[in-house]
Amino acid sequence: MQSIESWGRTPKTTQEVHPLHWSSDPIPSSSTGSCLPYLPYGLGRSYGDVCLNDGAIALPTPAMGRLLAFDPGTGVIRCEAGATLDALLQFAVPRGWFLPTTPGTKFVTVGGAIANDIHGKNHHQVGTFGCQVRRFELLRSNGERRLCTPAENADWYAATIGGLGLTGVITWAEVALRPIASAMIEMESIKFRNLNEFFELSAASDHDFEHTVSWIDCIASGESLGRGIFMRGNHAVEPGPLQTHRPPKLAVPFDLPALTLNRHTVRAFNALYYGRLRSGVTRSRVHYEPFFYPLDGVNRWNRIYGKRGFYQYQFVVPFQDGEAVIREILTLIARSGLGSFLAVLKTFGTMKSPGWMSFPMPGITLALDFANTPAVLPLFAELDRVVFSAGGRLYPAKDGAMRAVDFQKSYPRWEALETYRDPSFSSSFWRRVTQKP
């Protein structure tokens, strides 16, 4: 039994570990001959307990990361599901291709990207990662293999995208990459003084900019409520060097003491971060690495939250009344004094994912980190009330606390996923949210 963590480092779990090495192999049986359930585990970059299977069996996939085929004409790549987005970029960028969409870290596996149906800064134009997956193979505990495409085994395809690893092991997948002429991004950073200005900027940017996201100061209140920095960018059109990124040089070498991140340090950081930018539009040309992956530059950055770890709270609410909801959420957070410097605000587009359990909906999404202190869960309960009564929902990939009743109401297709779940697969998250309310 080993100790296994998610990126939030809470809850702590111990699991039996059976790494997967070959996509041609069946799922290994337990070494103790027990009937414990399985769950695939990539690089553990999700938060909460969606990648955890406490007291049961983890199937790490990163050793199963071979590249199997690449069509340089269409940019379609087929790889084993343990391949990371980092590895795909190392392969694709020098050849003039890029990921069709990417989350804020490249240290996730393709399997994890599909299982959480991740989204990126260009969701408003291209939808989720699941929208870019042409087909994949699903391996069940009984040895059955299914080729899943939008047309063939379409139900398995829809169940597995966003299916949180519960339908079985994704052995290999085919993803459509997109062409690039350069590794650089033409970007613009714009300071906005409040939420109104954010919505104006968002509306003005979504059409012309493929990638948009905002950092928000979640401690600012009153007239400065919702002030932040809007970032928008496009892949540079002018041909340039197709240089990949370099591995992280820095690392947080040990867990920081719990008091390091508190309302005072966060307030100070936010003031500096917001203040550093001039007003108006700041244009720059940056490598894709700092544009998409600012935090990847520091290994183990989650250690700044100390041994107790942290929670991430990410929700989406529909556009209608969305602004009022965000305002209320930010007010509650500012009043609580909790909250961290990592607060991200973005609008989702209308492109529908094929996944039954996909998180995005047309609307606004806000993601925040909170150090794991006793005041956090009561705050979440208050935030939940606002989010759910507005018809919104939380992102399973980030969640560690939502109530079963809220989950089941906001993801009505959970029962369909339950019927497609492999009877020998389960997760801490699933056991938590599928309880009888």
Binding site: P19, H21, W22, S23, S24, S31, A63, R66, L67, L68, A69, F70, E80, F91
Partner: protein
């Protein structure tokens, strides 16, 4: 372009060797027991390194049927034309306790780790001798340097292999053929997956880098990582009367 045979190509260390050789644009002939795994490995090498000019051919067969070894080596030589190097990388780490109670299991460990490599080395040795050039590389183990309570079945098999390689090196040097004995310590591969990781555990890629360099130089014996040479020097120096009391 280098023409290279990899036997036991799907092993953890062999995969890392294959990747490095492919990056140099080698022509590879991969042998293993599983055609499914060889196909995956070949696909990965050609997808990643096709631009470097790598060419890959595979052959799957039951390694435990020793009669199949010679035809396999002949087929490889025919496909490549010339053999610049052959790496023998397969092996198993059996359950020492189970082997103590059941000789059939110990016998199988000897077949896998000692006799099977010796069989391949016999055919390849004769081939390279006739060719008058080339390098043979076989992965033995630090475990073969001294029999220890905790894994002497594996250790004895590797000790047999080490002595065979020593003699083969002696015979073939006069014919222009190099024989390299590789003695890794703990390496992070599927074979050692059940063992706890320690600061001494090496990555397959680091070990592969050392092995290829040794092959290029014709180094007789390689300890990888380097510090195992010092460790084993000490272990080997312990007098038997003292060693028999230890629990290593």
């Amino acid at each position: 372009m280098s023409k290279i045979i990899l036997i036991g190509a799907t092993s953890g260390i062999a995969q890392a060797i294959a990747a490095r050789l492919a990056q140099q644009g080698a022509e590879l002939y991969l042998m293993g027991r599983s055609s499914a795994k060889l196909d995956l490995l070949a696909a990965d090498l050609t997808t990643r390194y096709g631009q470097h000019g790598v060419r890959v051919e595979t052959r799957a067969f039951d390694f435990d049927d020793f009669a199949l070894h010679h035809p396999a080596v002949e087929a490889a030589a025919k496909a490549l034309g010339k053999v610049d190097a052959a790496y023998i990388c397969h092996g198993t780490l059996g359950d020492q306790a189970a082997c103590e109670c059941n000789f059939a299991l110990a016998e199988q460990e000897f077949r896998n780790n000692c006799l099977s490599p010796i069989s391949f080395l016999t055919h390849l040795g004769n081939l390279l001798e006739a060719q008058g050039s080339g390098t043979l590389v076989a992965i033995s183990s630090v475990a073969g340097d001294r029999g220890r309570q905790s894994n002497y079945v594996y250790g004895a098999a590797k000790a047999g292999l080490t002595a065979f390689l020593q003699g083969l090196r002696n015979r073939l040097y006069k014919k222009g053929v190099y024989v390299v004995t590789v003695k890794p310590g703990f390496v992070d591969t599927p074979m050692t997956a059940a063992m706890p990781r320690s600061p001494l555990t090496a990555s397959p890629d680091a070990v592969a880098r050392d092995i290829i360099r040794a092959a290029q130089r014709g180094t007789p014996v390689l300890y990888t990582p380097w510090f195992w040479q010092g460790i084993m020097l000490i272990i080997k120096a312990i007098p038997e009367r003292l060693f028999r009391r230890l629990t290593l």
